[in-house]
Amino acid sequence: MSAALRRRVRVSALALALAAPLGAACVGGGSGSGGGAPVVTVESPDERCAPLPGASPPGFSFVPPALGSLAAPSHLVAGSFTPSSLIPFSLDTIPPAVATTGRVPAFPPDSDGDGADDGLFAAQPGGVLALAPDLALVTASGYDEVLFVDPRTGALRQVEVSVPAGLPATRFERLPLPGASVLRTAISTYACIADLPAGAVDSEGKLLASLFPPAPNTCARANAAFSFRFSFTSGVAFAAGRLFVSMSNLGDDPGTLDTQFLPGAVLVYDFDPTASPPRIAPRVDDGVIFTTAFNPTEVTAFRTRGGRDFVLVTDTGPLGVIVDDPATTGELEGGGIARGEGAIDVIDVLTLQLVATVPLGRAAPSFDALAIDPTRRVAFTGDAAGRNLYAIDLAPLDSLPPLAPGDRPYRLDGSDTRVGGVDARIFDAAHPLRLPARPGGAPAVTCPGFAVGAAFNASGGKLFATEFCDGTLTTIGVDLAGDPPVPVPRGDHFAVAGQTNLVASVGASGLGKPRALGSIAVRPGVPGFDYRGPDVFFLVGEPEGLLCALRIDSF
């Protein structure tokens, strides 16, 4: 064979060998649909608990039998992250049972509730508030919005969103233009605000005017010294025909010791849930209420004994994350730390003024709704950075005098002579109610404590508090008989009555067991009279999300 022929043969063979693979570029592949989608089974490792899809469930809410009813509910709805959803449960069994026969839908990637999937991710649920058998509200911090959900099915439902003509067009860029009225499944809280005082600062004390200079960084776009966008929608409450939504306004460096917070605020919307469909509209002039402290994480509707309606805002204050000290090689420091003042702010729902504040010091009040006793005398909250409970006396709210526009809120720490120096603080950072640590529980240096939430029993004689690190349920005996003075004396009326290990501690000792205890709630009504079945419900976060129920005859 000649050299030329050998070369031709070699090239031909090589070409043949290469042709097939190159042609394979046209070969497609499968999508894994041959056997259907992979079905992951999630079972509860605890017979008291129902499993939830995804770990660290964000919250749950009892569904009242009617709007505004205080009667015993028969259902609740619980949020889930993976996938984002709201799942209805019935309350009559241990463990609770899912209360819908249809398939619970996942929230779509819709940034503004207009029904078009325009986002890259689904809204992540945060706070949950069920108002009526057919209406629940879910805060979602991913797109900053409040979702409207049917608690019977977990499906989104439409609400009429009206945008007042006088609203600045730059205020809510994800709402229709002013003057429009549309059907949406969410109301946006993604607000651009340019109405702050000149001296407004962030949680580090830096002037906002220097952090957010005018154009091109301003979101208000015109005639604004500076502006910034709200973020991190946290809590929602409904009172007197209005919806109140807290905005934590998280800035830079999340998850660090020096996380920045911008001035916290509560957005106010007019809301009529009885209309068909329900109607909601942002308020034009008084729709933004700035809080006295940073990082508002929850809002709780409250009616005083005298019938005055307020919304109590939990200002957690700037919260940092403890970093490990490399010098201590045998220990892993961690946990939350209060980097500034916390407080409970008081908003008058009729005047939409922030009329009072109860400063709690460097307390880091927790993110759950306040626990208010049946006599409406005291409100308790947990501690996001410790094994403590904090409480305020609600009696002074009934007698708060009107506040002139522009006046600073009444300071109910004994220093404000305008209100006779009344002090509404019962337990604060200087005088906390400490929950006992669990023997052999989570190492204090790694997990110094996180009192997640608290709930009163039906009689008001007991307060139940959950602690994340140790997995414990602490019972506090409460005695408010005899109309105690203001503030209710600490030592005489509150005492730790007992502690139960509900789940395992976080960390190595909890491996293989449910752990990361979360929110707690007591079912309204008298157990055994108004309902049968479990009376106390709580969430567990790891490794599976769980909704758990107990019957402890909390009454």
Partner: protein, 691 residues
Amino acid sequence: MVRARLLAATLALAAMPAGAEEPAPADEPASVQAEQPAPADEPASAQAEQPAPAPAVERQVPGVLARGVKPRELPEDPTSFTTVIRTDDYAGEGKTAEQLLSEAVGVQVRRFGGRGQPAEISIRGSTARQVVVLLDGVPLNDDRDGAVDLSTIPADLLDRIEISRGGGSVQAGSGAIGGVVNLISRRPGAKPRTRAAVEGGSFDTFQGSLSHARRFDGWELTAGYDGFGTQGDFEFQRVQQRFAGQTITFSPSQIERINNQAESHAGLLRVGRDLNERLHVSLQDSFYYGSRGVPGLDSGGGESGGQRADAHERETSNVASLTLEASDVQGAEGSIRLYDRRQRTRFTDPESPCRGTIDTESNDGTLGTQLDVERTFALGPTRHRVSVSADVGQDRLTSTELPNRDRLASGYALQDELSLFERRVILAPALRYDLTEGFGGEWLPRVGAVLEPLSWLRIKGNAERSYRAPSFDELYLPNQCFLRGNPGLEPEDAYNFDAGLELAFEHVFFLDDVRLGGAWFRQEIQDSIVFLLVNSSLVAPENTGAATVHGYEMQGSFRFLGWVTLAANATLLDANLDATGTPLPGRADDEVNVRLEIGPPSGLVKLAGTMQRTGEIPVSDTGGTVLPARTVFDASLSVDARQLPWIGPRVPAEKLWLSVVGENLTDRSVRDALFFPQPGRTITFRAEAWF
């Protein structure tokens, strides 16, 4: 772009002339002779027709059960349970390293995406960090993570893979709790060999390789290149979660894997020289470059499913070694090796949800030396093969994330392989002292035994202690949003036990080369390092309580009429936390592999099919969340065009395999980890030539 580069590289290397046939040199290194008494570059079917020569030299090789059917008697050896995978047995099938490993008994491979995406190995229920992976004896485990990404291993450049199951700390020091995987690159055989392969298939996936190995005038040369690229943009089904009688799935239910492109280039060069009759020196360098998107978890909603659109990783690594081997020097043989492993990794993500912009780079490596000396002698009725080894390595790390770190590790081992009654009884006690800077010294004893009461029956067992020092990431990872290292970690500590038997028959009725084997194993682990939620905002590694892994391995193979080869294995695994009895997550409780190969002994056609059934995989440490079991079928049809009458004479190659390969033929949705999808059905066309 990727295709063009691969094609250009392959064509350029293909211009090298094929080597002329040369007679086998008389002074081949002993290691090559013992491993491959028949020519190393012929598939098993061809070897079956040749008489099996006696092994020329005894060599210390762990207990071996080769995949597939080997008509030759296996080398005699000590006690560990080892599988040898010869890549040439899979000629034309284009199997990747992770595929070959996943089909081995006792091994599970966890993949985090399609080809080119990370894959890690588990042996007998271990974690990936508890398996030491060696390339020609040099450890590849990186110092940051402690594990090896199997997707970076180019199978086409390997001659074989040896998997030693069970504790291997005496052999490999810290890290070998689950076992040791030794990747053996191609070596020159009796005659020069050039191999070239090109394949292309689904999801714009292409791979090409070229290698050449030869001996001449006392020199040996091996050179190889492997290139790979893929778009990886497969569609996949989202997970459905069934809980409390309900089922929920993400919206939409089917999306595309984004940012999943990958490209890699790997090469190997070895030059060796016989200095004299007893001394051989070799210099080897292997490099790897990989660039890939990092899509991450699909745990969110929407079209992207929460995947990262722009996260990217680039890795460059190089392993160089200089080895001097000596044989029959005053009755002893041994080797001394100096090696240097370097790895650079850069990770970028312009929009990390937690940390904003991420741009990190780390450089880690090990500079080390290994010394092995072995001497065989008789002492009365006993015959001893005593080996002494020492290895010292300096691990070093520089990173934009972590403070610079270095750590000195050394190990000194002594083993005696004591045989009695013409090797019918072998006892192999061994002891290693391992010293890791910061963790002090550890004594690692091991004892193994083999009984061969009958020529077709071998019974063996082992008991040993193994351990693993924490990796740099586990110790020193700085606070990254919600993840951090723990400098207070203690090493993992384990005791391993196993026992089993192997049967080998030339003929059983109408079946040839019947091999059967079974083993029981148990591992008791203390202080396992697990990443855990330690407070509401932090996940960190912690030493946890005792865990026990025990199980059974079964395997068998036979040939029928020279046309049919059937091999199967099954691994049953029970891995639990002692305190709660709950399962260790990430390990399937059972896995079954069946391989059927049909084709004439001439090798003209080969139809190969595999079935892999993987049992349920617990995802959470309570066992409450479980991935479903699945069965996956692969098949390939290969034709040696060289033997086709109408085309064969025109083909200049000794063999030219033209193949079509189908993976996951039933298009099952496969997940080894909860939020890391894998592709469905994949079709690949491959051409592989041997010159």
